[in-house]
Symmetry: C2
Subunit: 323 residues, 2 copies
Amino acid sequence: MTRDRSGNLALGPGPEFDRIRRIIERLPGAHGLGDDCGVFPHGGEFIALSTDVSVEGVHFSLDWIDAEEVGWRATAAALSDLAAEAAQPIGILAAVTMPAHAPESDLLDLMSGVGAAAKHAGAEVLGGDLSTGSAWSVTVTVVGRARSPIARRGAVPGNRVWVTGVLGGTRAALGAWQQGKDPLPGARTRFAHPEPRIEAGVWLAQRGARAMIDLSDGLAGDVPHLAAASNVAITIDLDALPIAVEAQAQAKQLDIPVQHFAAEGGEDYELLVALPREFDDASGFTRACGLPLTLIGVVAEGSGVHFLMSGAPVELRGYNHFR
Amino acid sequence: MTRDRSGNLALGPGPEFDRIRRIIERLPGAHGLGDDCGVFPHGGEFIALSTDVSVEGVHFSLDWIDAEEVGWRATAAALSDLAAEAAQPIGILAAVTMPAHAPESDLLDLMSGVGAAAKHAGAEVLGGDLSTGSAWSVTVTVVGRARSPIARRGAVPGNRVWVTGVLGGTRAALGAWQQGKDPLPGARTRFAHPEPRIEAGVWLAQRGARAMIDLSDGLAGDVPHLAAASNVAITIDLDALPIAVEAQAQAKQLDIPVQHFAAEGGEDYELLVALPREFDDASGFTRACGLPLTLIGVVAEGSGVHFLMSGAPVELRGYNHFR
């Protein structure tokens, strides 16, 4: 992604994204907004940056996860944007606000989680800031390097759409907590301890990835971003989705198909990628990255996203962070 | 500043800084924390980054300044850290939290201020994030490049200590607002529309600056950081301070010497710099940067900071953001 390639507003529909579009109109020089990372060329490659805010009561509750997990999760979510750009992490910065009377031990635990997630991804903690505030929040900014960053805009008709890992685990955890129950351990881990798919992003870029995005708004929210940015139509076969085992019970309670449940759940932090039609090495991906890679859709001329189940069109709702 | 040079905890005394020291103990790989910027080498020079959070009710009130000024101020404060590193800004990222029912026009105005401050400094808006929260906050992360970054740690005995601009204007504005009055226009501008001293930082680096810091915690708070980082003693002659005219009336009301008022006031965002004894070109600085540059102290062997007025020692309090 270079500056002139990034003039396009790479966002799908939705009130959160309409708001971001109105901000971008006020910032005529802000080319990078709307992609996973902002990038600039430097020293023969590209520097990629992204910033991500996590707010208590909006993105997490300390009744659900502990302070160290809050720090890990916020940092992993930001690093996931580097993964989607096929960038290698270099460093992170963390700005924290905390209630005036919160125990300092929570702050230290939160920062331990930030540090652990950074170290796990090979990134250094380069800076931070600290303030009082009415609730806990942590804003993590990540910086990385990429020889050939992958934006959301490169998908072309004929490409195939793949997804890493399994979907719906985070939503299963949220659903359990919202009912006052403990989530299944696998679902809890998906929420509290997500893994940014750094290696996967680089591997896919080396195999010719044309466009990539990390799944923070859910498949139903993020496929439209990729389609809009690339100016193509995308059809997703919901029957093909790789689904977390923990999603079954929650979907059943809601009386919706588990495929809808998984496609509408956010914050799985898996990668959605458009690859050339010829790509055929999912088993090589799994050997290299320890994850499944699943073919779920195709790119065609046109615009918009079509979700199909048993061959029939399905309407899905995107996951809205701005709540 | 390189990674191995930055292992030192470049912070003066105070409860906010004790807290940061305890965080750093939990992050053994976090070399850059405690300086104005974190830096890493890339492409034959250095990339410098800093992150700065501004919270409604802590750092600003929308009763005092409007949303566009909030955005400008938050961005200028973050850019000031690049100035103190002698770095040229490249880009900024802004993560905003806003109350759920706040008007969108305030958000757009705030982001216009962010964009204007970035453009003024030659930086691009590279990214952002948006969330609801219980109060307004904006976390600005800045990225820049420097051939020879200037840290806080390079002052050596015999250096002279200089300061750009004039001090105490921001505190004069805060004092007026806290009394329910309108500040004098010059003081209001200092608070609402600070200017990051980018050109000044680069000019001073080219003239041999040994150590530099921007004045966010006030002279009384920031000189100790520079002395601790450089492992030297610093003596400041308060009679020499360049003082904002607006500070006089506020100091008189508080019945304290205006020199104390100015030295204890925070967020002036001027640069404090240690220069070789031979430096003698304040008038050249003023011609180049349009600002005064004033000799206010000397560096000696030892440790700690001595503030003198009429030759007698004076105790001053640092400005504490963590309130």
